[in-house]
C-alpha cells in the first residue's frame, strides 16, 4: 500500500533529525498533506501505528494538517478550491488558474526534547 511506504519514509527522515540533534524523545510528528498529494490523511493515520510499532517512535503521536487544493484565477485573482469547483473559477467562470497549494507532503515539525 502506498501510504505505508510514505510513513516509513517519514520515520526515516524523523530518525535522521533525531540523531543529528541528539533528541531523546519525540512526542509528536506534524505532517502537512495537500489535497492533491498522493496520500490520504485517513490512510496515513490508519497505517501509522503498524509502521511505528517496533520502533523507538511507538508512543509518538501523529498530527496531520490538511492543506486545500487552492488555485488563483488568472483572470480575476479569486482564490478557490479547484476540487470543489471542478477547476472553474466561481467568480468569473475562468478556467485558467495557478495552483497555490495542495501538492504538499511535508514533515512540518516535530515536538520533543
Amino acid at each position: 500500500m502506498h501510504e505505508l511506504g510514505i510513513v516509513y519514509e517519514v520515520i526515516k527522515i524523523v530518525d535522521g533529525f533525531v540523531k543529528e540533534n541528539n533528541l531523546t524523545k519525540v512526542d509528536t510528528i506534524v505532517l502537512e498533506i495537500g489535497q492533491l498529494s498522493q496520500a490520504i490523511p485517513r490512510f496515513i493515520e490508519d497505517c501509522y501505528p503498524a509502521a511505528v510499532s517496533e520502533t523507538a517512535y511507538k508512543d509518538t503521536k501523529l498530527e496531520i494538517i490538511s492543506l486545500p487544493a487552492n488555485g488563483k484565477c488568472k483572470l480575476c485573482n479569486e482564490v478557490y478550491n479547484i476540487i470543489n469547483h471542478r477547476k472553474i473559477c466561481p467568480k468569473c467562470n475562468g478556467e485558467d488558474f495557478t495552483l497555490i497549494s495542495g501538492q504538499e507532503f511535508n514533515i512540518k515539525e516535530i515536538v520533543g526534547y
Binding site: 502506498h2 527522515i13 524523523v14 498522493q38 507532503f105 514533515i107 512540518k108 515536538v111 520533543g112 526534547y113
Partner: protein, 220 residues
C-alpha cells in the same frame, strides 16, 4: 521531565528520494549503464515487451532486468530465459518502487558489466510515477484492451513519461480503441512524448522502440 520543544523541519517527504535517485544516476553513469523505468497496469505486457526487446538487442549489448512484484519470481525467470541478467525484488505489499528500493535492486543485480538495465515497476498506473527511481528515462505501456480513455482517467503517468508504448495492437480489431484519439488525449498532457504502437507478441513495431533505445544510449 524535559520540556517539550518544537523543532521545525519543513522537509518535503520526497526530498530524500530525489537525492538518492540523483546519486543512482551518477553511479550508473560511472559504469556506463543506462537505466529505463517501465511502468504500466498489471498485464499490459511489460514482461513480454522486455522479452522482445532483449531478443532484439542481446547480440549487441549486455542487458539486465530488475523485476519488482508484490510476490513471486515468474517474471525474473522469464527475462532470464530470454538472456538477461535478472533479479526479483519483493515489495511486501507496497504499490511502487522508490529510489532506495531501486538502488537495492541495482546493488543486487551488479551493473558494472551491464550496458542497459530495465526496471519493471509494479503493475499500477497511479503510484509509481510519483517516485523518481534514478532511471535515465521513463516509459509507460498502455495496452489496447485497457482502452483509449486512460489518459483522461490517469493523467499523471501520461504527462510524465518520455515514451508511451501502445501494446497489443495485434488485437486492435477486437476493441474500440482509437489510436488517433489516444494520441490527441496524450498530446494534451505531454506534447513531447514519443508514442510507439507495438505488438510484443508478433514483434510489430519493436524495431522503432529498439531504435529509440539505441539512439538514447548513443547520446548518453
Amino acid at each position: 521531565m524535559d520540556e517539550l520543544k518544537i523543532f521545525t523541519i519543513n522537509k518535503n517527504i520526497h526530498e530524500d528520494n530525489a537525492k538518492v535517485a540523483n546519486e543512482t544516476r551518477e553511479i550508473l553513469k560511472s559504469h556506463n549503464t543506462y537505466l529505463i523505468n517501465v511502468m504500466s497496469s498489471p498485464g499490459s505486457g511489460k514482461t513480454t515487451t522486455l522479452v522482445s526487446t532483449i531478443n532484439a538487442l542481446k547480440e549487441e549489448m549486455k542487458i539486465g532486468v530488475i523485476e519488482a512484484d508484490v510476490d513471486s519470481d515468474v517474471d525474473a525467470r522469464t527475462v532470464q530465459n530470454a538472456g538477461a541478467k535478472a533479479v526479483q525484488m519483493h515489495t511486501g505489499g507496497l504499490c511502487h518502487l522508490d529510489a532506495t528500493m531501486t538502488r537495492a535492486g541495482i546493488n543486487e543485480l551488479g551493473v558494472e558489466d551491464l550496458d542497459l538495465v530495465f526496471l519493471e515497476n509494479i503493475g499500477n498506473l497511479i503510484c509509481p510515477v510519483g517516485y523518481d527511481t534514478g532511471a535515465m528515462k521513463n516509459v509507460a505501456i498502455l495496452s489496447v484492451p485497457e482502452g483509449d480513455d486512460k489518459p483522461l482517467k490517469y493523467p499523471k503517468i501520461f504527462s510524465k513519461v518520455d515514451v508511451l508504448i501502445v501494446n497489443k495492437i495485434d488485437v486492435m480489431e477486437h476493441f474500440d480503441f482509437k489510436l488517433d484519439l489516444l494520441e490527441e488525449r496524450v498530446r494534451k498532457l505531454n506534447k513531447d512524448v514519443l508514442i510507439i504502437p507495438i505488438s510484443a507478441k508478433t514483434g510489430d513495431g519493436i524495431d522503432l522502440w529498439v531504435n529509440w533505445i539505441r539512439e538514447e544510449m548513443k547520446v548518453r
